[in-house]
């Protein structure tokens, strides 16, 4: 093949990125990229162009022993200086976190007290949660500063034994979903969001509902079927 003809080169790179070059052709392409900058550039462009098809897939949490297994394989059993530094940071971060958590409980208590005594917060729509073309099940609202979330059960919610519905913020760009807590089966619930949840919710473009073991996902990411994905209402709506 004449690798200097731009349209052939581009077609070859795209075919490789799709995974359609076979056997020796595939190996040869990889080698050629090392010495032909234009071929490499064409390949990188196609990898970038097709990336949205990879990012559109719902993230799946690896099993709990996935990272430890990688760690064993790269043979980093606690010996590297950078690792022990990381562990020290982790320790102090945990202590700092427990202090911050205690402080935030107090702050939240004060805030809730204030809100209930002095003013009812102004609620803004987040999303109406419904399975495709079915009756809405929940209506989700937040305060203007996203510090608090209220969830109204508006439809008949059926749930299997030992299961819970969990609400997730889906950040734009394919980052992992962030839990916004469990959904009620009936009635309304109101909850304070952590600083982290608040910041993810503000950056999110969609929310999702998954079916989880009773009490919520054990992994911090959706583990059961996702039954609803819907866009978040924009500030103006």
């Amino acid at each position: 093949m004449n690798y200097e003809r731009p349209e052939l080169l581009d077609q070859l790179a795209a075919t490789h990125v799709l995974g359609l070059l076979r056997g020796r052709a595939r190996v040869r392409f990889e080698h050629l990229c090392a010495t032909r900058p234009r071929l490499l550039a064409a390949r990188l462009s196609w990898e970038d162009r097709f990336l949205p098809l990879a990012l559109a897939l719902m993230p799946v949490a690896p099993s709990a022993d996935h990272w430890p297994a990688i760690r064993r394989r790269i043979n980093l059993a606690g010996a590297l200086p950078s690792d022990s530094a990381a562990r020290r940071r982790g320790f102090s971060a945990r202590r700092w976190w427990s202090v911050a958590a205690a402080a935030s409980v107090i702050a939240t208590a004060l805030l809730v007290g204030k809100l209930t005594v002095w003013s009812a917060p102004e609620w803004r729509p987040v999303a109406v949660l419904a399975q495709t073309s079915a009756t809405p099940l929940w209506r989700v609202e937040r305060t203007a500063d996203s510090r608090r979330l209220v969830i109204h059960t508006v439809g008949p919610v059926q749930i299997a034994a030992a299961r819970s519905y969990e609400l997730w913020a889906l950040p734009a760009g394919g980052a992992a979903p962030v839990s916004l807590g469990l959904l009620p089966v009936h009635g309304d619930i109101e909850r304070a969001l952590s600083a982290e949840q608040r910041s993810w919710l503000q950056k999110a473009t969609q929310v999702a509902v998954s079916v989880e073991p009773s009490g919520g996902s054990p992994t911090g990411l959706p583990t059961g079927p996702v039954i609803i994905v819907t866009s978040i209402a924009t500030a103006s709506s």
């Binding site: 990125v17 559109a56 897939l57 993230p59 990272w67 950040p171």
Partner: protein, 182 residues
């Protein structure tokens, strides 16, 4: 948001031998890479193994990642996909796709009702341009990229001649490039 500069920073730290950076990277991108691998390999155990291999490779090659030549996430997705395609092509008999999956690929329903396609649909030129293709061209490209099917497998799956599949892929790619660049 998958912040490219954050991912690039973590890759630089990995290149310097910082295992905590690799762990941070694992937390940030492993779930998305696992989704890609599961779609390709269709086995949880194989996909998790391939993901391990991909992270070893990311660790070993982090120093060679050149941000001026591509985006960090595209680079890592490509490492994971290449690993999966190596496994798929290693003479393992491949499962046939189901009708619903073939239809999803044709109509760009990326992950069924649970998809996250809204972002891609509104934000990316790829989506707009895939939607502008003929249904068969689109189906062939999605079956190859997401499901890792060879052209022979695509032909068998959609019961069309191999020659037609090859020409849909070729013309689909040409149209796609023109559309994305326009």
């Amino acid at each position: 948001m998958l912040d490219q500069s954050e991912l690039e920073g973590l890759l630089r730290q990995c290149a310097g031998g910082d295992a905590a950076a690799l762990q941070a990277l694992h937390r940030r991108v492993a779930p998305q890479l696992l989704a890609v691998l599961l779609r390709l390999l269709r086995s949880r155990a194989q996909a998790e193994d391939a993901l391990q291999d991909a992270f070893i490779r990311i660790w070993q090659e982090a120093g060679r990642f050149d941000q001026s030549r591509g985006r960090a996430m595209a680079w890592m997705v490509s490492i994971a996909r290449n690993r999966a395609i190596d496994l798929l092509r290693a003479a393992r008999p491949m499962l046939m796709l189901e009708e619903a999956e073939l239809a999803d690929a044709e109509q760009l329903r990326v992950a069924g009702p649970a998809d996250r396609a809204e972002f891609s649909r509104t934000q990316s030129a790829l989506w707009r341009c895939l939607e502008a293709l003929g249904a068969q061209q689109r189906q062939c490209l999605v079956l190859a990229y997401q499901y890792g099917l060879t052209q022979q497998r695509i032909a068998a799956s959609i019961a069309q001649p191999l020659g037609s599949v090859k020409s849909w892929v070729r013309r689909g790619l040409e149209s796609l490039r023109r559309c994305i660049e326009s």
